[in-house]
Amino acid sequence: MNPKKSYRLPFLLLALLLLAAFLLNTGLGSVAIPLKDTFNAIIGGTVAEDSWRYIIWNYRLPKAFTAILVGAGLSLSGLLMQTLFRNPLAGPFVLGISSGASLGVALLIMGSGLISGWVGSLLINDVTLAIAASAGSFLVLLAVLGVAARIKDTMALLIIGLMFGSVTTAVVTVLSYFSNAEKLRQYIFWSYGSLGNLSWPQLGLLGVILLLGIALSIISIKPLNALLLGEHYARSMGTSLQRSRYIIIGATGLLAGAVTAFAGPVAFIGLAVPHLTRQIFDTTDHKVLVPAVILYGAILLLLCDTLAQLPSSSYVLPINAITSIIGAPVVIWLLVRKRKMIF
């Protein structure tokens, strides 16, 4: 008896799909560039027009890599949350991490309106936005961690995360009531989410933070598997509960916080991808699920982004809208088909 299943084939397929989605994403855009030239531009071959090379290296490749990092980061944090909270509806947003980021950005954008003249407008740029979002999400995370140290029950923690979310939403609403139309517009644009604003150095920073988050997730694989049976069983099998919870929550904070800071809030990926992954990989073993959701999330967000940029037109739809339009029906479909969302 040796029921060790091999997942080599689905992993190979996912890797190929990722490559295909990556080429599709970089090949399609407002300017039509033939696939052959796209490929040549990436590997450094000859390209028919020089502007194409510029477009691909300065716009499309950073955007595609952003999509990969954002998709992978959000999906992994969703998987961690679902196991830690033993709740199939948990995602990075439930902990209030992204609302914290929103609060930080709202305070920056709308608060700067209060400082009159050019000083206020000087305050807002990509870097300060990212700092405000990170600060906001980490403040909420610290608050959640502080509560986690005092409250043993993870379900209570989940509700507290939701309450933090409500409070930040309320504060954002109050702020928007008092700020002028231009500032409000600026905030709303940020909240649409965007994958296209990252420079190569920013991309590098995001990548490093995500790698750290992934490393923390990998060392948590064994506790995550134990947590499938609940906290008491996990402890009785030698898991150091408090430490594992800190590491898992920390990893989620890094993954979701960094992503939201750089790309704005991107909905549903963190919730939907782990469920979609379980449709292909029929296992609960995190040794398989962790790499699988990373691949799946990257592929899905690349495809969403390809749709969002409406190939061959100059319109770009907000990525947050596309992921919601795709994500919400997926969650409903899972609920209806499976009756019960299992994880």
Binding site: N225, H232, R235
Partner: protein, 264 residues
């Protein structure tokens, strides 16, 4: 068998269990003392709310004791580290599993966690233990089934197999026979008795099946918050300990049959 030759597996001295609070501790049960040897099959009985589960959870270090001592192989329970404890005590609890999407094999193999490396790789020895555990409970052919496909009785066997795979000298089970019909209650208890005697494991469980426990157990602890009597079932019957187990207005104990009868 010579009793004194057996090692003492767990020793409980003047234990009080309950929940610590700011305005003083809420004591659920106190003055509990007993001792179990390896290979003992023992039950904790008592009325609802008397503290059976609280006691069992305290013994399993799920919650801390209020006062008194629990010694495992002569060493105080609170001086055990997480890992050591995982190799000494395995649990079967009543709380529902976080997910039932696991296969039988996936669930049972989690019992090997104290012995596997940082990422949980199963060695040949681990696989052997898992197979043995599944064979012991008679589920070797259902290892690929999902837990949500199982009946309550089968699920209980899977949880017992997981505890077996953990390979500990002491197994604690909280009401392993609830939700089961009489046939399956007996099946589970006989299985536990066989495990305890064949594999020389100390098994302690809480139950409401007083009559079945009298027939099957080597030792019984009657929690009544007065005497908390402990001993072999026949001794306890002779000492008329079961008579005071429940209030006498509805049922009474019949020492001849070892059953409770409705008062006519």
């Amino acid at each position: 068998m010579n009793k004194t030759a057996k090692t003492n597996a767990i020793e409980v001295l003047e234990l009080a269990v309950g929940y610590p609070g700011k305005k003083g501790d809420k004591i659920v049960a106190e003055a509990i003392s007993f001792e179990l040897h390896s290979g003992d099959f023992a039950a904790i009985v008592g009325v609802n709310g008397i503290g059976k589960s609280t006691l069992l959870r305290t013994l399993g270090q799920v919650q801390p004791p209020l006062s008194g001592q629990v010694r495992l192989k002569g060493k105080n329970l609170d001086s055990y580290r997480n890992r050591e404890l995982a190799e000494a005590i395995s649990l079967v609890l009543t709380e529902p599993l976080a997910t039932k999407n696991l296969t039988v094999w996936e669930l049972v193999q989690l019992g090997r966690q104290p012995y596997t490396n940082w990422i949980g790789t199963l060695e040949a020895r681990d696989r052997e233990k898992i197979s043995q555990a599944l064979a012991m409970v008679g589920l070797e052919n259902s290892h690929a089934k999902k837990c949500y496909e199982l009946s309550d009785g089968q699920m209980q066997k899977v949880l017992i197999a997981r505890a077996l795979a953990q390979d500990t000298p002491l197994m604690l089970l909280d009401e392993p026979t609830t939700h089961l019909d009489l046939y399956h209650k007996v099946q589970i208890l006989k299985l536990l008795q066989r495990i305890s005697h064949e594999m020389d494991k100390t098994i302690l469980f809480t139950t409401h099946e007083v009559d079945l426990a009298i027939q099957l157990c080597d030792r019984m602890l009657i929690l009544d918050n007065r005497e908390n009597s402990f001993g072999a079932p026949c001794e306890l019957i002779e000492q008329k300990r079961f008579e005071s187990l429940f209030p006498g207005d509805l049922i009474s104990f019949d020492p001849q049959t070892g059953n409770f009868k409705i008062v006519s």
